[in-house]
Symmetry: C2
Subunit: 408 residues, 2 copies
């Protein structure tokens, strides 16, 4: 494995074999594309690269739309520049400490789809929401269940999350009340970003996953469980999710993850268009921190459905892909209690409060709470890489613009 002439601290998320892309700016400057290396950002807009114009953009979409040959060419060249020390004098002025930059939403989100890939998570939710019934619905092992979320409220890590208001129904009352959510939750997920579009009416095979998917981000799909529980029958989650979905600022190229691949077991064997897949399960361990306290380590490698299967499923009806489509795994939960990816699971619907290491307790999120999700993988060649983080802090609900009375 090559090493970079840029110093990379031990345990850094961003060694030379990662090179994730993001969009950054310094005060008073326009956002542009860079890659992370160690503690620095390399400003790609100032380098003599193929597709250099794409790196002066304020989103990765132009570059991502170019397809896998362009992605490989850029990655190969950037790797050369950062490993061959003769390039140091030319590049040094364009290496900026990450502490000096602001990170932006890395891509314009076209459509956002959220899947439901973790069997442990789906089983936990089934037990909580539909007690006494089979926890997994009859379709669960036949298809990767998913639904469309709100693309316009996907925000970059660090964006404050305003506690949503909405309708919810308390168990002891017949009518709903309106007010700020009392059961605000997180969902720790991994997201996949589409680069290469596809044609309407043409399915994309699972085998073509790496030709279409550009890279991988961390996702926190904030969820208001009280709003969700009241609204979601029969057409699925809506306002319980649509107020905010946070993503990490760095998009890890798929190529960097090839050695992290795992193949989950599936029984019964799914239909042929899904059997094709299962090549892109990924051995990643996520870490969820609440106000700095580690509360869970969801293992992404335990997901039942893989992202190549999800891609094939999402398009098997002829739905087209656009550059910037984001699809997320759904909450990842491992079999152990301390591997669950949401508070509703970690506290079993609020009945078993979580004790933080400072002695405070939580069921759902309080105003001012900060949740940070990170992830790392140990690659087959013995190295590792990370994803940076996705973080957000809960803000108090703002007043309704017309001052409607509501039940607090």
């Amino acid at each position: 494995m090559n090493r970079s002439w840029v110093p990379v601290p031990d345990g850094s998320d961003f060694p030379i074999h990662n090179l994730p892309y993001g969009v950054f700016s310094r005060p008073g400057e326009a956002p542009r594309v860079g890659v992370a290396i160690g503690d620095a950002v390399l400003d790609l807009s100032r380098l003599d690269l193929p597709a250099a114009g794409d790196f002066a953009a304020d989103a990765l979409n132009p570059f991502m739309s170019k397809g896998p040959a362009a992605w490989r060419a850029a990655r190969t060249r950037i790797t050369e520049l950062l490993t061959d020390v003769t390039h140091r004098p030319a590049l040094a002025p364009h290496l900026i400490p990450q502490t000096e930059v602001r990170m932006h939403l890395p891509f314009q989100v076209a459509d956002y789809v959220d899947f439901y890939a973790s069997e442990n998570h789906a089983t936990n939710l089934g037990r909580i929401f539909r007690p006494g019934q089979e926890p997994l619905t009859a379709n669960w092992k036949h298809l990767p269940i998913g639904y469309h979320g709100r693309a316009g409220t996907v925000v970059v890590s660090g964006t404050p999350v305003v506690r949503p208001s909405g309708q919810y129904k308390q168990p002891d009352s017949a009518a709903p009340v309106f007010g700020p959510s009392r059961r605000l939750d997180i969902e720790a997920e991994i997201g996949f970003v589409v680069g290469t579009p596809s044609r309407l009416g043409h399915a994309v095979s699972a085998a073509d996953f790496a030709d279409h998917v550009f890279g991988v981000v961390l996702v926190n799909d904030w969820s208001a469980r009280d709003i969700q529980a009241w609204e979601y029958v029969p057409l699925g989650p809506f306002l319980g999710k649509s107020f905010a979905t946070s993503v990490s600022p760095w998009v890890v190229p798929l190529e960097a993850l090839a050695q992290a691949r795992v193949t989950p077991r599936q029984h019964p064997s799914p239909l042929p268009y899904l059997v094709d897949g299962r090549r892109w399960g990924l051995d990643l361990t996520m870490e969820v921190r609440l106000n700095g306290h580690l509360i869970s380590r969801p293992p992404f490698g335990t997901a039942y459905w893989t992202p190549d299967q999800q891609l094939a499923h999402m398009t098997v009806n002829g739905a087209s892909l656009r550059t910037g489509d984001l699809y997320a795994s759904g909450t990842i939960s491992g079999p152990r209690r301390d591997e669950r990816g949401s508070l509703i699971e970690l506290t079993w619907n609020g009945s078993e409060p979580l004790e933080l290491s400072d002695g405070s307790r939580r069921t759902f999120l309080r105003d001012g709470d900060t949740v940070t999700i990170s992830a790392a993988t140990h690659l087959a060649n013995g190295t590792s890489l990370g994803f940076g983080e996705v973080t957000g802090t809960i803000e108090r609900t703002l007043a309704h613009p017309r001052g409607n009375p509501w039940t607090k």
Copy 2:
């Protein structure tokens, strides 16, 4: 009421008090913005108008983003130009017969939401899908149920609709099969297009509807009922809908519809943020034609939830609006059988085939079938206007790219 110096045939959808906006091109020319008047399109990109640059765009988004004062100013000026005959010599070169132009998707769709506003429709579907249970779910009269659809597969009228393939389960088998949908359906809906964006974390009041919503289109939300029935529990419709949603090419300005407003009755009274609304029910009658045969006349004025209530609900959790957001009413069905807005209702889940006026019968759509939806309103001042049409023809499913075997 003024009259235009442009000849407008009796019964035209596009009299001077309509002036819908669309995006058109002639062969070899770039798409640009025009308004419909009678049988012509007035090319706005060639006129000396405020915001003229916005009309040289290939989508209405730049103009729509300017907000209601700009919309009123443009409409006032275009009305002057088309009613004062002294402008005729200057404008005549920019009036193009509609038969000579191709119409494009009129706006870039940001997020697409589909509601479920018709009580007759929701009741029919409840009876068909959940026999023996209360047809309306407990939440139905408390909130306008909705979900996000796929924005990237919203297509303009005339785009062929490829029959989707997918999983469905037959009643007599335990496992699903894969193949082309056998229960391909339509949904006759009215869609609302957002112009003015809103801030994340700030609810939009129903009273501010006309400050945010630019105009109205016809929507056919094509639906594969067999795929939908198998996939939709617990997270809602996904592939049964995401292959195509067709919209009409002309966006009727909200201002043109002010005299069509009606206020539906609602019991029980909804929560205060929804009581604010109900000012923008619209007295429109839709017509659905299958291969030219009139099969239904859904009355939009019977919808239970109104678009201003839907807007308030969609944002009450702080979700922001973007220019180009599209939200549709959901299938509109009146109380009479010949007012139902989908084939699953018109044929009662296929059990009562529809006899067309040529003697042929239908349950669901066959390859080659063409469905066309139109709508008109009779305004309080005694005039009327129309929406043009949204049409689409079913194409045979294409082969899967990798030739996967599947059960036909």
